[in-house]
Symmetry: C2
Subunit: 243 residues, 2 copies
Amino acid sequence: MTMQQSPLVRKLSSFVGLSENELSVLDIFQRHRRSFPAGADLVHEGQTDATAFVLSDGWVSSYKVLRGGGRQIVDFQIPGDFLGLRSVLFRTADHNIEPITQVNASEFGASDMLKAFEASPRLAAAVLWSASCNEAVVVERLVSLGRRDATERTAHFLLELGARLKLVGLATKEGYRCPLSQYHLADALGLSAIHVNRVLRQLREEGFLTFRNGEVTFDDFDQLVKAADFDAAYLDYDGPMMK
Amino acid sequence: MTMQQSPLVRKLSSFVGLSENELSVLDIFQRHRRSFPAGADLVHEGQTDATAFVLSDGWVSSYKVLRGGGRQIVDFQIPGDFLGLRSVLFRTADHNIEPITQVNASEFGASDMLKAFEASPRLAAAVLWSASCNEAVVVERLVSLGRRDATERTAHFLLELGARLKLVGLATKEGYRCPLSQYHLADALGLSAIHVNRVLRQLREEGFLTFRNGEVTFDDFDQLVKAADFDAAYLDYDGPMMK
DNA sequence: CGTCGGGTTGATAACTTTCAAATTTCGTGG
DNA sequence: CCACGAAATTTGAAAGTTATCAACCCGACG
């Protein structure tokens, strides 16, 4: 009997070939499926009893708020991503996690993870790899915030999102559905919403991409990639790299 | 016979209590000790045969270069940190690694890691935890680049470095030795070296801190913490959190 | 209808960069 | 010990990018 491949399984499989047994161990992570409404934090900074999740459906944002009230979105999670892995490894959660859309996610705790690691060291490596992928995304955004101007940054971000969504079948080279507001973009890109608006207009008028009505359309993908200096290498994991 | 505690052991011990056996397994990571001169890249972006290291002595920077020639330093590593963990998990290295000072580091490969994971799932959790600490640092810098102005950003960074160094006994509340140039700071903080210079002058003149002659001195630690909105929670791991 | 969360636009202000140039520091050879 | 050159630091002035403030528009919704 073939098991329905969850986004998580699909993703981890692209790193290590998983045995039947390992697949069933992975189930530990996906037992307690729950549903959450948009807007209400799943985890908030400082929380000490946080659990982790595997996202199976919907969009989520991880963010921090600053003293002055500003906020910085660290990353968006899409189906197949872990949520709050850091929060369970640390004593206290170091960031907030908020669903942007209605969301389905499976809850698990640190002990579940350790159990999985005991059952299969290869799974441990796979989880570490997955966390590394996440870090690679954060690093690339760091580079954007540090050294790219608003236009490159925005284009790069929208391309990256497209590449990630494509991996789970939610985007094509043409574009994708995107529930983010310009405020979300602003908080992720370290810009004001007003400036994001101007940048989006410019990108649209110059024929690069259209961000509108919850839909991102790449009007000229190749030019865009060039303009944004985008290289998907850090997202590119086709085929298991550990036999 | 008591083993000399390496920075790595000290660090991982603060997450999980390690058994005699696990300590000896950890040795896998520290067998091939090597020495490297400042300036010559240990790993360069795109390299496909990269190995990983545990840093035991000296300072290292991880950075990316952009099309336009600019560079963004993602993080500095200090003794006890892993180098290039991502590079061995990915097919190709996604960033450059350059020693800032003369450096001692132990080399290991993906297979060594898997061997260690097989010997002890708790070690796997410890490595994952360590990677998460790293990510937390990167995330905090992301927040700085996105939402803090040059002054807060600089102060925050220098405080963070101090906190990290203190954990391995290389800093006090008074300050620490710091081999970074203002160019290093600029490339890490997403600023121009010239502006970094102005900011440092301002911080010095206002009695917050002095960055000079390879030495960072906190002239008013408490005020500085307040001004930078610095909260060391994300670095604060005293006492094993897994029994 | 009236409000509310997006989205859009213009004008002005703030922060940072860039360019140009002087000064200091530091390692090295005389 | 001093001189010299390279690298790092420092400063001023002008230009550029992005934020802030103040409106206005629009569609969804009670």
